[in-house]
Symmetry: C2
Subunit: 374 residues, 2 copies
Amino acid sequence: MTAGAPRLSDRQRTSWLRLIRTDNVGPATFRDLINRFGSADTALELLPELMLSGGAARPSRIPTVAEAEDEIARAAAFGAHFVAIGEADYPSMLRRMDHPPPLLAVKGSTGVFKLPAVSMVGSRNASAAGMSMARRLSSEAGAAGYAVISGLARGIDTAAHQGSLGTGTVAAMAGGLDRPFPPENAALADEIAARGGALVSEMPLGWEPRAKDFPRRNRLIAGLGLGLVVVEAAQRSGSLISARLAGEMGRLVFAVPGSPLDPRAAGANALLKQGAILVTEIADVLDALKPLGGAPVDHVFPVEEPPDFMAAPPPGDDDRTRVIEALSPVPTPIDEVIRHTGLHPSKVFMVLLELDLAGRLERHAGGSVSLIGY
Amino acid sequence: MTAGAPRLSDRQRTSWLRLIRTDNVGPATFRDLINRFGSADTALELLPELMLSGGAARPSRIPTVAEAEDEIARAAAFGAHFVAIGEADYPSMLRRMDHPPPLLAVKGSTGVFKLPAVSMVGSRNASAAGMSMARRLSSEAGAAGYAVISGLARGIDTAAHQGSLGTGTVAAMAGGLDRPFPPENAALADEIAARGGALVSEMPLGWEPRAKDFPRRNRLIAGLGLGLVVVEAAQRSGSLISARLAGEMGRLVFAVPGSPLDPRAAGANALLKQGAILVTEIADVLDALKPLGGAPVDHVFPVEEPPDFMAAPPPGDDDRTRVIEALSPVPTPIDEVIRHTGLHPSKVFMVLLELDLAGRLERHAGGSVSLIGY
């Protein structure tokens, strides 16, 4: 750890974990709560009331202090720990995405997060040529001083990790760190952590990854790299979703071309048509990433919790009605909700936060929101 | 032929053929001579004197009227004829290139020149997949109303012609129309001409194509299309030269991607890195070409020979010395030669023309010239 870098106290870390493990509290809501109430502790105290105000039939259960301490202890026993955004060991690239996870479970070496990184994904059902290409690119990226990020899946992901085992590779996982998927990659996961790389996850230990957890993992893969390379990907594959996410985060998107007669190349070729950078050798990637320097400018995030700044008066029931009436199942920019209701922005934010915590609000890219089950 | 379109008289056509068949008279010099002296006849009269003024030990032999008439008669017997620039049957796309051939030998139907056209080239040593791709793209381009231009070579060229036999395909040849290369494509050449397509050449009947004749054919291939598609091409292949020529002429350049592990795709992938448009299906080509309309704006070329306009006094020996001293083996813009010598532009042009006809001048892109054997 860098000397003098901010660090959560054990008590803060426990509170952060309780807060992020509460239903309807995702990274965006977490951040709003900390910004609004100054600390996770205060937010935890007010959560039940906020949820009821937002229209929840009853408040979600908040993990107890004992439960959070137990999760931290089990993680430690497994050889993992939680890194908070703003701490020196947190992957700085993640701060350059919307709504970074406030806490990340890590097993292995956080030193790998200090390297400039490139993400590499592709088909689970890859060809021998695709596997060979991924291993080669990954190995050469590693030799050039880059960490290689991937998702521990079969096929291209596996090849990407294998090629960079000796130089530092990071596997972003959809389930808990002790639940590698597919299970046959358990040995690969162990090796990644043992050889200077890292496994990272937003989910608790023991969490079996479900289909709906993979988009979150894809976000991590895209977020952790300066750029994302798609090696072999069919049309409508998860790799293309990762590529889209990477593009939205301002990451460079690369693709390895293939014959139009090979369906496994269709996704990569489609990306190239959309402006992805064509890769036939690692120099194509490194030449494009080099100007980015590998030293991203960090967003500021208040890991040292700010003083309570609940200055604005809390919203009343009239305010809640006005905000809800301004919303619909169609995403609406928050600015427009403020204009439409004529309410003080802090009141609008507060009502939205309540709705969010009650599971009634969906947040969209670009600061739009919509009502769920309207 | 379009009614009212200009047409050379038989006598003019004979004179044009004599002039273009004279050593050191290429398309650029041909045009300069017509512009300067108003007619091929006048140019032919003055040629010996101009060559001697330019420093030739003795003038090149000019084909006789009988020889030119014989070439025209032999072409007719072979089923071919000569189309002059400016005539309605001349391929209008060729007028949109630097130094179009003033006369083109054609066998087959000139109707195919009225279609919008796409050029397609690639490796002689093509893979089965590449051949299949070329046939498919060519067939679909034909179905969409495009003529397909290629070079009658083995491999991709052959597939491109085959795919578009029924809809109109044009083979640009490096040798005479009766000297298809490779010889095993003689039957394909016959079929192209018989089925509404055309064979075109700048060279006389009976001319066996030499290696040095292929760049000229490549220019025709690039010039005849609105865009050029490279289907499969290794590094440092002739297809890449055609692609460069097409780009220089303002034609769109397309390439079909392939695996970086396949050396036959290296050239096409390299073109894509340089900005060629990626093609996986014919729509990628047609969508890009459609805005070009297929109805190019013709450059004006004085096929109806203008009156003699040798108004400026002819250059003297002093003028010749000054121009030659301003030249070197390094290409120099003609404007700079004019500035440097302080001579009237028409005198400079005239000295350059003499040097050109004497085989002592090389012309470069962008209007630069250099001395040969300096």
